[in-house]
């Protein structure tokens, strides 16, 4: 909003409620796509498909961009952690780091999924 615009308390709380409803609606929509794909875990493409379904196509491009940045960040964090571990080990491991990264990408996906794997209800 332009600078200096006041937002009433009522408007704030209304926006907050609207955001919650949006999350629920988006989640339910994304879940339908996951079920269509016979998956139990909601993934990125489910959410993007949900946006299109809900007529928020305008969000898709910026979301994809943000996702790229996010994934890079996550990757960076994991590598940073691995680097710390490696420094504790012998230096020779640094040379083989290049090759290991490719494997890491695949393993990362699994790791992320495993983190979220909780079966409720």
């Amino acid at each position: 909003l332009p600078d200096g615009v006041n937002i009433s308390k009522e408007a704030r709380s209304a926006i907050s409620r609207a955001a919650s409803v949006f999350v629920l609606y988006a989640t339910s929509c994304a879940n339908n796509f996951a079920m269509k794909g016979k998956r139990k875990t909601l993934n990125a493409s489910d959410v993007l498909s949900a946006m299109e379904e809900m007529e928020f196509q305008r969000f898709v491009a910026p979301l994809k961009e943000s996702l790229e940045v996010y994934r890079r960040e996550q990757k960076g964090k994991k590598e940073a952690r691995k680097d710390k571990d490696k420094k504790a080990d012998s230096e020779e491991q640094d040379k083989s780091r290049e090759e290991e990264n490719d494997d890491d990408d695949e393993r990362m996906e699994e790791e992320e999924q495993n983190d979220e794997e909780e079966v409720d209800n």
Binding site: I15, N43, A44, R58, E112
Partner: protein, 126 residues
């Protein structure tokens, strides 16, 4: 939750943990992958921005340089994209007006016996 070192601009400003709680409250959902959680949070952020700017642009609050509840409520009612919000952002009406409406309907109902008017159910919030 996405932990970014302080000083950097956070990639998303809404708390992921909270978003996750809301998503999980949906009974059919069993698990959510990290990317999906992030995207939902980011999408919600974009949604809030969109709702606010749209309502401001099309609303009367602009006259006073403000975004009001009624701006939001109008948007929910008039814009198809936001219609899913109509129930939680009902139009508001003064209690006095509502009472007058009820009285009028009562009177109309008495004049014509066959007249069966549905009562307008308007949520009144003060």
């Amino acid at each position: 939750a996405a932990r970014v070192s302080s000083g950097e601009n956070r990639l998303v400003s809404l708390p992921l943990s909270r978003i996750r709680v809301i998503m999980k409250s949906s009974p059919e959902v069993s698990s959510i992958n990290q990317d999906a959680l992030f995207l939902t949070a980011k999408a919600t952020e974009l949604f809030v921005q969109y709702l606010a700017t749209y309502s401001y642009k099309h609303g009367r609050g602009k006259e006073k340089n403000a975004l009001t509840y009624s701006d939001l409520s109008h948007t929910a009612e008039e814009c198809e994209t936001f219609q899913f919000l109509a129930d939680i952002l009902p139009k508001k009406i003064l209690a006095s007006k509502y009472l007058k409406m009820l009285e009028k309907e009562k009177r109309d109902g008495e004049v014509g016996e066959d007249d069966e008017e549905d009562e307008d159910e308007e949520d009144e919030n003060e």
